[in-house]
């Protein structure tokens, strides 16, 4: 059995699966249930000044009959009294000493407020702090949350205040509501943050109710932009994670990966692209804490199959495989192949290619079943047919290199090779 225990900035947890700062972690009752279910750690829902929430708070995007492909919320930071939160945090730490307890913070925008809050939280016995520089709704209007994370200078200043006071590890959580997460990331690393976490939620409108004509979530005839999360944001999160994992400065600190993680596979992908551990929220909100069981077992089995003994054996392993377009090998070429024994004649590959790609699939009419074959000379190897094919391994991409040697775009231009090969 592989060892899936995690050590993040010296904060140990039996597995790399933490619950992200969010509704599931805003009180003892939920957190104890999470720990009982097997979660490695939690980031307690953000503490700060007293706020008031509205009703309703959530909305979702469904797709193809599946619920909650994407999810958004307009909930603020914890609306419970600070003292109760602190008391419960301390109790949870005592009851589950082997689990990671991180507390998310968003103090008012002055040094004293931060210092006071940090002092109180450290007294609970929590293992680390996460600075919420990412919340995209409600708090930004008060100069907090994403308003901090979107401005590298302000972010830097706040992190400096925090680092003056904090004696336990500090993670800075980045907002994705920026053109690039790197400037703020660099700025807070310079200011001394011990680690980064990303992404927070993305500003969004999940949809408009076609009867009331009011977007979701509905609050007395109005709505506001909400923070988007769930499976739909995973690809965006992975991209942002990679930019942090590749940057010379930000890659020096550990990263906690967040954004649409639902299964052990998602978690492994985040870790391959540089996350030391992962945080989960939406999936737990959809299915309950029990999902961690398969995450633990699946990760274990995958690591055993691949021969990885510890998490460090694979964390960051894929970071260098994402390169610049100019460095891609232009001589690489592959062509689709349709396995006629597996083909069910649905024609989805054909219509996708015919209408929207390169007219590389030949249709031989049949009643009721047409026959579809690839026209090798026309196929550019775009993958579209394979992606839309409903049958596993029916369409495969076969390598047909243009030439054996590596050739990138710059070299291609230098050699004056023909541009239009159609």
């Amino acid at each position: 059995m592989a060892n899936i225990s995690s050590n993040f900035l010296g904060i140990k947890s039996p597995n790399p699966f933490w619950l992200a700062s969010a509704p599931p972690t805003d009180k003892k009752y939920n957190v104890l249930r999470a720990f009982e279910a097997g979660w490695g750690g939690v980031v307690w829902k953000t503490l700060g000044s007293q706020v008031k929430n509205v009703s309703s708070r959530y909305s979702a995007v469904d797709y193809g009959g599946q619920r909650v492909m994407g999810f958004n919320n307009i909930e603020l930071i914890s609306d419970r009294p600070l003292e109760i939160n602190l008391k419960e945090i301390a109790e949870c730490v005592k009851l589950f000493p082997d689990r990671a307890m991180i507390v998310s913070l968003m103090a008012d925008n002055d040094k004293n407020s931060w210092h006071e809050l940090i002092k109180k939280v450290e007294d609970t016995g929590a293992h680390g702090l996460e600075l919420n520089f990412g919340c995209p709704h409600g708090m930004t209007e008060r100069g907090m949350g994403a308003a901090v994370g979107q401005d590298p200078e302000i972010a830097c200043m706040v992190v400096e205040w925090v680092m003056e006071k904090a004696t336990i590890p500090v993670i800075t959580k980045l907002t994705p509501n920026v053109h690039s997460v790197v400037p703020t990331g660099r700025s807070v690393v310079k200011a001394g943050t011990n680690a980064l976490s990303l992404i927070n939620t993305i500003q969004s409108v999940t949809g408009v109710d076609l009867d009331t004509l009011v977007p979701n979530p509905y609050v007395a005839g109005k709505s506001v932009f909400g923070g988007y999360c769930g499976p739909a944001v995973k690809p965006i999160a992975l991209k942002m994670l990679t930019t942090i994992a590749q940057d010379e400065l930000t890659k020096k600190v550990p990263i906690s990966g967040i954004g649409g993680i639902e299964t052990w596979k998602d978690a492994v992908e985040f870790m391959l692209l540089g996350a030391s551990n992962v945080q989960v929220c939406t999936a737990a909100m959809k299915h309950g804490f029990r999902i961690v069981e398969d995450m633990i077992e699946g990760l274990n089995n995958w690591m055993d199959e691949k021969g990885f003994k510890t998490l460090d054996d694979f964390i960051g392993k894929s970071v260098d495989t994402i390169t610049h377009w100019e460095d891609l090998d232009i001589n690489y070429h592959h062509i689709a192949k349709i396995n006629q024994d597996k083909c069910i004649h649905c024609g989805l590959c054909y219509i996708a290619c015919e209408d929207t790609s390169h007219q590389s699939i030949k249709l031989d009419y049949g009643k009721p079943y047409n026959k579809y074959t690839i026209i090798d000379e026309e196929c550019v190897g775009c993958n579209l047919c394979k992606l839309v094919c409903p049958v596993d391994d029916c369409i495969t991409m076969e390598e047909h290199r243009v030439a054996p040697e590596y050739l990138n775009w710059k070299q291609y231009q230098q050699k004056g090779l023909p541009l239009n090969d159609h």
């Binding site: 193809g64 009959g65 649905c346 024609g347 054909y350 249709l363 009643k367 009721p368």
Partner: protein
């Protein structure tokens, strides 16, 4: 042993004749199946539907909550799409060619989804078609069955004023009178007809039989064109001794009475033999059982390989407890006091393929006998041969011969069972559409 009516309680009748294919109970239940549909391109299901309904489109429209659009897509190709969703042998048509079959997964329940959209449209009385301004042309349609109604609807949409002459006092043809009651109820058939007629521009004159109350010559004179969609008549005669004994029934009449008079009014024997293995034979056999016959035996002169009904239909009969005897051809019916009491069958074997391409049954010389008190004949139906000959319509053994829906008589068109000898409702609907297209072209473009 006796042929009696009222064998069961009202509750038993209700149970026995309840809907054999219940609809989706909720929108979500329909969505789960609709979402499975792959939305195939040039889909095999469309090609396997005689009316060419754009099935992937109407299913996609269910998933996008455009039920109105979904129903329109169906009715555009098949105005009896609601009825067809209940009576079509989909296992050999659309669902039979669904690509999921090729993955050894259950096909999309196309009929059930079609029923979902069309029933909603009928319940809500959505008028999904608009008539064009009257073109000042009139067409007579003979027979308010699937072919006639389908033809009339297309014509009326194009602004033609249509008059249908129907010999019964209800419309719907075989849908109303010739199909097992556990597939479609009389109320449904009536609703379906009314829904079709709600377009306007179609008048039905009931109790008007061609050759009796009206003549073709008259119709030709009064109308710009005539469509003959009168279907076929009673079951083929067996031409064996004893055929006229009491208790020897015609499947068409048996089903007609059952649909017309109500279950408890229909007498049924204790030991019933049904001759034939087509859809009508199945409908007769299963309904005889459901009316309370103790024993129903289906006799077919060929084997399961050649049977005209689908496996699905055969399964219904077998689940109803009907006995099946293959390679049995009726040779003689014997009776006591004028009532049938015994059927003697030749045991057959298969020989060379005949004109239908199926291996032909050949007598082995051996026979067996069954004790019966009722025999239902369901070995094909007879066209209205005399009527057709009297009107000098070119025909093949009573089946009207057409060329692009037109008969040998100019301006007289035909389609459906009267032409093909007896096929599915869905085939008749398509024949009606084809004829309507030919009639429109004849009225508006042909040099006369």
């Amino acid at each position: 042993m006796a042929i009696l009516n009222n064998k069961l309680s009202q509750q038993q009748y209700a149970e026995n004749f309840s809907d054999i294919h219940p609809p989706f109970e909720t929108h979500n239940a329909a969505l789960v199946e609709a979402n499975r549909c792959l939305f195939c391109y040039d889909a095999p299901c469309i090609k396997s539907c005689p009316t060419g309904i754009n099935i992937p489109k109407f299913i996609k429209q269910i998933t996008s909550d455009n039920i109105k659009g979904s129903a329109h897509t169906i009715f555009l190709s098949n105005i009896m799409g609601a009825g067809c969703s209940k009576v079509c042998p989909v296992e050999k048509l659309c669902e039979g060619s669904c690509v999921f079959n090729l993955m050894d997964e259950p096909p999309i329940p196309i009929a059930k989804l079609q029923r979902y959209s069309t029933e909603k449209a009928m319940q809500q009385k959505w008028q999904l078609f608009e008539r064009k301004k009257s073109a000042g042309k009139k067409v007579a349609v003979v027979g308010a069955g699937p072919a006639g109604l389908s033809c009339a609807h297309v014509l009326s949409r194009e602004g033609i004023d249509v008059t249908i002459y129907e010999k019964e006092n209800k419309a719907g043809g075989l849908m109303t009178y010739g199909i097992a009651a556990y597939k479609v109820t009389p109320e449904f058939c009536e609703d379906e007809v009314n829904y079709i007629l709600s377009l306007g521009g179609i008048e039905i004159k009931y109790k008007q039989e061609l050759g009796k109350n009206i003549s073709l010559a008259e119709l030709q004179k009064k109308y710009d064109a005539v469509f003959l969609g009168m279907g076929v008549g009673l079951a083929n005669r067996l031409y064996i001794p004893g055929e006229d004994l009491e208790g020897v029934e015609d499947a068409i009449k048996f089903i007609y009475d059952l649909r017309d008079k109500g279950f408890s009014a229909i007498p049924v024997g204790d030991k019933v033999a049904v001759i034939g293995m087509g859809m009508t034979a199945i409908d007769a056999a299963t309904q005889a059982r459901r009316l309370g016959a103790k024993e129903v035996t289906m006799l077919y002169r060929r084997t399961q390989e050649e049977m005209p009904c689908t496996q699905h239909e055969l399964d219904i009969a077998m689940l109803d407890g009907c006995k099946i005897i293959w390679l049995a051809a009726p040779k003689e019916l014997k009776g006591v006091n004028g009532k049938v009491s015994e059927i003697i069958c030749s045991i057959m074997q298969l020989g060379e393929p005949d004109v239908s391409g199926r291996k032909s049954p050949v007598e082995t010389g051996a026979t067996f006998s069954l004790e019966v008190d009722m025999v239902i004949k369901a070995a094909g139906q007879m066209p209205f041969e005399q009527l057709i000959i009297d009107n000098e319509i070119m025909n093949n053994k009573g089946k009207i011969v057409i060329n692009n829906s037109e008969t040998n008589i100019k301006g007289v068109f035909a389609g459906g069972d009267a032409v093909n000898g007896g096929r599915e409702v869905v085939d008749a609907v398509q024949a009606g559409k084809d004829a309507a297209a030919a009639i429109l072209s004849y009225i508006f473009h042909a040099k006369r």
